[in-house]
Amino acid sequence: MPSPEPLAVEPAGRSTATRSVELDAFPTRTRLSTLTDGLRAYGMIAAMWIRSTMTYRASFVMTTVTSFVVTAFDFIAILLMFTHVDALGGYQLGEIAFLYGAAATSFGLADLLVGSTERLGRRVRDGTLDTLLVRPAPVLAQVAADRFALRRLGRITQGLLVLGYGLGTVHVEWTLLNLLMVPMMLVSGALIFAAVFVAGGSFQFWAQDAAEVQNAITYGGNTLLQYPPTVFAKDLVRGVTFVVPLAFVNWLPALAVLDRPYPLDLPHWFAYLPPVVAVLCCWLALLAWRAGLRSYRSTGS
């Protein structure tokens, strides 16, 4: 450091002191307004992308239908399996459809709303992230709304159809609690997947080509959850319960609705934890995002 004035010089590796100041600079009121600003910016940018897409109407219809058909093949594969077996991992077709539909719908919602965060690495590499940083709107909202693609509704539609089929087929006593479990599961599941998307996107601030790792967890996790936990090894089930808590998306709540035992010896109330897990995941994802953005702003790459 050439300059001797203590006022002008800050240590090169920003200390924890500066960091805590940065956090203190966001009192609760400002955090709330950041949230509303973010949602507002998200809405505006998503609307622009929808209008952009609509300039190629035929292409939009084609890709939406394609997205529907391609994801439908997933479930058709399961249907084909059931022409040869009566149960998969001890589960009937209807039960599998319930699991599948819940996972696919949650994933589809998260993908629609924040799936674009997986493109962050590209924006970092070509420098276009900078153009977002000079706008008066939260960067996460801008990145999440980037290339907002309504065609992803194709996947959600397919998920909801399979879920509907599953709900109509399974033999469950539809008590009020069981009825409430379904929307709770879908919303919490979408939030958990959204958190994974955002955390994965944050990781791309450091490793710009990490989109594949992110895909393995998001798309891979979605595929995993479409089957009952009994078909997987216990260690894997443990991993998706406690490490990347994807099991809370559908397995734990759905198995409680179906009155099935969870392969791990967990207390019953675990089935009602998804909202808590979802909020926790989102909070961690936001911390990761902030750390990533801070790192980008200190390294520029």
Partner: protein, 320 residues
């Protein structure tokens, strides 16, 4: 004058990891900006030049709050950009020459409508500013055209308008005339000059084109290796750099090298000769002297480029 942009010993150090062997990585530090201090008053129009990798973009990124300085003090309109990036964003305009902020598939006016809402510009203000930009930047016919169909020059004018709709107090332009044809360049320059004169908008522009600076900026700052090498008038820069302009003369026929007081002949190729003369000097007396004594068919003038000026600056300095 009130200092609007203030830098005091600003530094930006990057850690660079280089592969040194199969797994081992060497860490080294690059000082992209190394103790930069200057102030810009409100309403000034400053050219910020330097060779590639000199630290120009890094400076602009710190001024806009994209990058956090590693050291020193930096204020724009009294705001620390790194800490209050979004608050500052409402008061500044940025045009990145190579990266458009316009919406590719939508008509130009839709991008402006987004700015209107995102920056919460009052309706009346927005209408006035848009009208003004449309008139001065000649955008009337383009508002309904999808951005992907615009030429480079049209898009640049569109981008400049987009950066000004919210009445920024300072406008940063990164290579605003790069790749533009002569007419578009002239339009952009005229517009910027008016903007600065009428509205008092502070303008900081980086460029490779010395003509931009010549026509727009009374003050120029040269940066190299992250340090301020020169800060003053453009004419002074030519003196410091002892740079030369070149007059290219086409004579009627091949002749021995021209001998004339005001310039020296540096190259002869058939009937064409290259005459170098100090950049701080007018070309007019040279041209008239030349025309009086030689059979001149055609003339053209080549300005020194920034790289050459800076190279000379170095040569001059180490020679002393």
């Amino acid at each position: 004058m009130e200092a609007f942009i203030e830098l005091d010993g600003v530094e930006k150090v990057f850690d660079v990891r280089r592969r040194a062997g199969l797994l081992r990585r060497e860490k080294s530090q690059v000082r992209a900006v190394d103790g930069l201090s200057f102030t810009v008053a409100r309403g000034e129009m400053v050219g910020y030049i330097g060779p590639n990798g000199a630290g120009k973009s890094t400076t602009i990124k710190m001024l806009t709050g994209i990058l956090t300085p590693s050291g020193g003090r930096l204020r724009v309109a009294g705001i620390d950009p790194a800490r209050e990036r979004t608050r500052l964003a409402r008061r500044i305009g940025v045009v990145f020459g190579q990266r458009t902020t316009l919406w590719w598939d939508l008509p130009l006016k839709d991008s402006y409508r987004l700015m209107h809402r995102m920056y919460r510009i009052p309706d009346q203000r927005f209408r006035e500013n848009l009208e003004r930009c449309v008139e001065l930047l000649d955008l009337g016919e383009l508002l309904e055209v999808p951005v992907r169909q615009l030429s480079l020059g049209q898009r640049m004018r569109g981008d400049i308008a987009a950066a000004l709709l919210h009445d920024p107090e300072v406008l940063y332009l990164d290579e605003p005339t790069i790749g533009l044809d002569v007419i578009s360049k002239a339009k952009v320059r005229d517009f910027l000059r008016d903007l600065n004169a009428d509205r008092g908008t502070t303008v900081l522009l980086t460029t490779h084109d010395l003509t931009d600076i010549e026509q727009l900026c009374r003050r120029v700052m040269v940066i190299d290796h992250g340090r301020l090498m020169y800060d003053g008038a453009l004419a002074g820069l030519h003196e410091v750099g002892e740079s030369e302009r070149t007059l290219i003369v086409d004579l009627e026929r091949e002749l021995p090298p021209v001998v004339i007081d005001l310039a020296r002949t540096v190259r002869v190729e058939g009937p064409r000769q290259w005459l170098a003369f100090p950049a701080s000097q007018s070309a007019a007396p040279l041209v008239s002297a030349l025309a009086a004594r030689y059979p001149v068919m055609d003339l053209s003038l080549r300005e020194p480029d920034i790289e050459a000026v800076i190279a000379k600056m170095y040569a001059g300095r180490s020679g002393q």
